[in-house]
Symmetry: C2
Subunit: 346 residues, 2 copies
Amino acid sequence: VISGTPDQTIADLGEQQLLQRLYQYCDTAVVGDDAAVLAIEPTHEVVVTTDMLVDGTHFSVGLAMPGIQTTTPFDVGWRSAAANLSDLAAMGAQPLGLTIALGLPPQLPVQFVDGFYQGLKACLDNYGTPIIGGDICRAPTWIVSITAIGQVHPRRKIQRSQARPGDVICVTGCHGAARAGLALLLNEHSPDGLSPEEYNALIQSHQRPVPRLDIPPLIWAIDPEARVAGMDSSDGLADAVLQICRASGVGAILDGDRLPMPNCFRTMGSLSDEDRVHYTLYGGEDFELVLCLEEPLAAKLRSKLDGSLRIIGKVQTHPTVKLVYGNNLACSRTLSLEKGFQHFTS
Amino acid sequence: VISGTPDQTIADLGEQQLLQRLYQYCDTAVVGDDAAVLAIEPTHEVVVTTDMLVDGTHFSVGLAMPGIQTTTPFDVGWRSAAANLSDLAAMGAQPLGLTIALGLPPQLPVQFVDGFYQGLKACLDNYGTPIIGGDICRAPTWIVSITAIGQVHPRRKIQRSQARPGDVICVTGCHGAARAGLALLLNEHSPDGLSPEEYNALIQSHQRPVPRLDIPPLIWAIDPEARVAGMDSSDGLADAVLQICRASGVGAILDGDRLPMPNCFRTMGSLSDEDRVHYTLYGGEDFELVLCLEEPLAAKLRSKLDGSLRIIGKVQTHPTVKLVYGNNLACSRTLSLEKGFQHFTS
């Protein structure tokens, strides 16, 4: 990897030199033409997902909002890759490659772009996924647009619309950890009550999420013909359940006592009860999977995952999504999409 | 198509409403999950290309630079689609679908986004290509990132690296027209000497370029086993020839008397001789194809295109690209990549 002087900017380097520099992160067998060509298994379909991330909105490397740095450029790269691979995992697909379009301010240090690509590649290398192309252009702020391409067997797709009344609703991993990590980085909460390991785990959840590409092969190994509804929890657990229910024309009952919050939320003194539930339901960016399955399949998947799959509720015919706390009707509430994250209104 | 009040902004509408509005332009059988799924012919490979466009750099709808509007939002949509389809054509591929990521300032009028999608769809509908997904987010300026997915037969790929000494270099259509159209819109040149039809044709070249998806099937119809090197001329004719030569390890002699400039350049009084050549070689965004073929194939393709394919030079072993005017050695010059368009330096 070429390294430049620390204060070298994109404008100093120029477009052609920058392109040459970025080629080293790409699959050289594929880049160099007007478009990239990827082989795909003849029985499979193409899966495509795209994401745009903007400095100051989706990440903060200390430029758009001086003084606020919650992610290094390496982390931005890692998270961008993870977010897109997570969308592929949510479809039951395997990744084939990624394209990266970057809008760059001329004064951006070149080492930011290097760090970004290193993080991207570090995440992708875990899955043998190449960077297959991209585009760069001048922009007033740092903008990343990623498209991930994958493949899926047509009878092994995970789709939002496939939930049926009686299915159990399961989630992988914890929810709210990424949001709590961000809150710690922004000093919105003190780390009181957290061990150093717990503190680091929350920060890692925000900076280095892990896409659940491991899950679909486990499901198909149990039952190659399984019907699976699901999506990832990038916009929060509540949003995922609501989106699945809307797409499937069903509703759900979620068990408030089984919300998949990190264990350390209980000892983290600066979190109110309301914060804990809010982060877990609406935090987002944990990049876990929310799945609706028949109960026996969920049980088998849970045993394969050493119990780290949690059943949090059940799909019902009535098209509302309720969070219920045992017999405590006073705490129960109906969830709606309007409470989720909105980019354009505050 | 839903229409809003003329002064409604993205912030007024909100993210969920905007997404609902944009769904109407998409292939509803495909959007709605974490990723889109596309069927592909079992014998084919996946082709992927991506482009990022920024208001004020790649287009001007009158926002980034108040008072300068060279493209309507409809044109921006059309050109964005055309640019990506052109990259697929340059690979010999057929389009399967497009994803669109939009970075939007909250104060952007909703009708700009509607116009953009209408232009996108108008261009795509000519080829039966659906919009299969996307992303929207808040950004300080209007940013468009498009990824086009196509399919190509593995033995019918057009690649830059396939030029061989002795090949003829051919171009489809005219070059320099899009740049001249932009110059007219920016009042860099007066339209003196142009008929209204010629004036409009130059403007159209800038605002509504047509990708040459018609060319690859014509080539394979003549010879399904043909070796074809090529790329599109989005960054200019000179750039295309230079990139092909670099990738193929060859050079070229271009005939200065056969440059594919629009006929009206000869009567357009405000263009100097230097402007004519400069626009034709370096103008860019004509989205035509530059191909290196064996001469008999070029002749057959030319006759299928009613002569609108022009042979402009020949591939040579020596790795320089020379522009030669008959016996006039004084006007001859060597072309280099450094003269092309650079985004980050001026």
